[in-house]
């Protein structure tokens, strides 16, 4: 059986600029896998092999370059089966703290933009696909996963319904800051969240995020009607 540390080093060999912290984290995951699996070395080996296959199995096209397969720490740790044992709390906390620390707020401090613009962003699923024009601003495709405006009946259910989001939370202090942060980087609060880190990964601009915040919080937004 391979020593876990060897695996970690192999694992990280293709990555550039990864910190010692991420290697430690990875070690934690590997150790957990070792502890929980009947055939631990094959598990770790399969992960190694799968990563190698991913690297050789794709080619860049349009704006989608191969660096998109370079996983950051959260992606690596969160690449796990739905029924895998729960992540260690310290690992979760570390992911959340790291993501939270990287959140950037608009220079002017204004967190509420235009909800109408937010609705357009929420409807659009364009952006970052190799078939998309990189010059066209990306959408957030919120409706793909969430219910928002009551008039839009074509909504997905991967995420929780957000109908009445602002109305329900009107009294919560700093709700705008929380909402902005959640959209900018949902993993600042929930490690391994399914939701894209729209600001962190530069899918949306800071201004676009403030428009989506307005869609959720503005009393005139259909979400709160």
């Amino acid at each position: 059986m391979n020593h876990p540390k060897t695996l970690i080093q192999q694992h990280s060999s293709g990555m550039t600029g990864r910190t010692a912290t991420s290697m430690t984290l990875l070690g934690a995951v590997c150790l957990m896998m070792l502890a929980s699996c009947a055939s631990p070395s094959s598990e770790a080996e399969a992960t190694e092999q799968a990563l190698a296959l991913m690297k050789s199995g794709f080619k860049e096209q349009g704006q989608a370059k191969l660096d998109r397969l370079e996983q950051d720490e959260a992606q690596r740790i969160c690449s796990r089966a739905a029924d895998a044992p729960a992540l260690d709390k310290t690992v979760e906390k570390r992911i959340e703290a790291g993501n939270l620390a990287a959140v950037k707020f608009p220079a002017d401090g204004k967190l509420l933009g235009d909800w109408r613009e937010g609705e357009r962003i929420a409807q659009s699923g364009i952006g970052k696909q190799f078939t998309d024009n990189p010059a066209t601003p990306a959408g957030a495709n919120c409706y793909a996963c969430h219910q928002l405006s009551p008039t839009e009946l074509s909504f997905g259910t991967i995420g929780p319904p957000l109908l009445g989001y602002g109305k329900i939370r009107a009294q919560i202090p700093d709700i705008a800051k929380y909402t902005y942060t959640k959209i900018y980087n949902p993993q600042a609060y929930t490690a391994c969240s399914n939701m894209p880190r729209f600001g962190h990964n530069q899918i949306l601009t800071e201004a676009q995020i403030t428009h989506v915040v307005a869609l959720l919080l503005d009393p005139n937004s259909p979400v709160n009607k």
Partner: protein, 156 residues
């Protein structure tokens, strides 16, 4: 209504056919095959298209069975349409989509011995009424059915 309705449509169609026959218009290059009722297929609505097919007027009918024609189409690119006429001496069945840029989709001539029943598939840009224009014993009848269209593929 626009001025098209004041034009004798059949004479135009004839003029086109004659022009093709005379070599004035090369068939199949720009416009169409000889005999193809270009004017009918250019008609914007039921009335225009029907007029070009020779139906100056028509009566509403319920004597049409829509068979497997769905009430909702998951994709407008392919909408199955099935039309069976229960009107005696049916000789032609035309299928029209009210809200398409040109209403007429297809016109079938039904000779004696063939069931007055056709099934095909049409494109629909949006939710619309479908018309079955039936010619029977020289008279024209129209039946209507609404088909709702959902658009799939929301990844974009």
């Amino acid at each position: 209504m626009n001025r098209r309705n004041f034009v004798k449509n059949s004479s135009l169609a004839t003029a086109y056919t004659l022009a093709v026959a005379a070599g004035l218009i090369a068939p199949g290059t720009v416009l169409a095959q000889a005999g193809w009722n270009e004017k009918a297929f250019a008609g914007k609505n039921l009335k225009e298209a029907a007029a070009s097919l020779g139906a100056a007027n028509f009566a509403e009918t319920k004597d049409v069975n829509w068979g497997s024609t769905p009430e909702i189409a998951e994709n407008g690119a392919v909408v199955p349409i099935s039309v069976t006429s229960n009107i005696a001496k049916t000789e032609q069945i035309a299928i029209l989509v009210e809200k398409n840029p040109s209403a007429l989709s297809a016109a079938f001539d039904i000779p004696a011995g063939t069931d007055p029943s056709v099934t095909t598939r049409v494109k629909m840009g949006q939710t619309s009424n479908i018309f079955a224009l039936v010619k029977a014993d020289g008279k024209y009848y129209v039946a209507t059915k609404e088909v709702k269209v959902t658009l799939g593929g929301c990844g974009g």
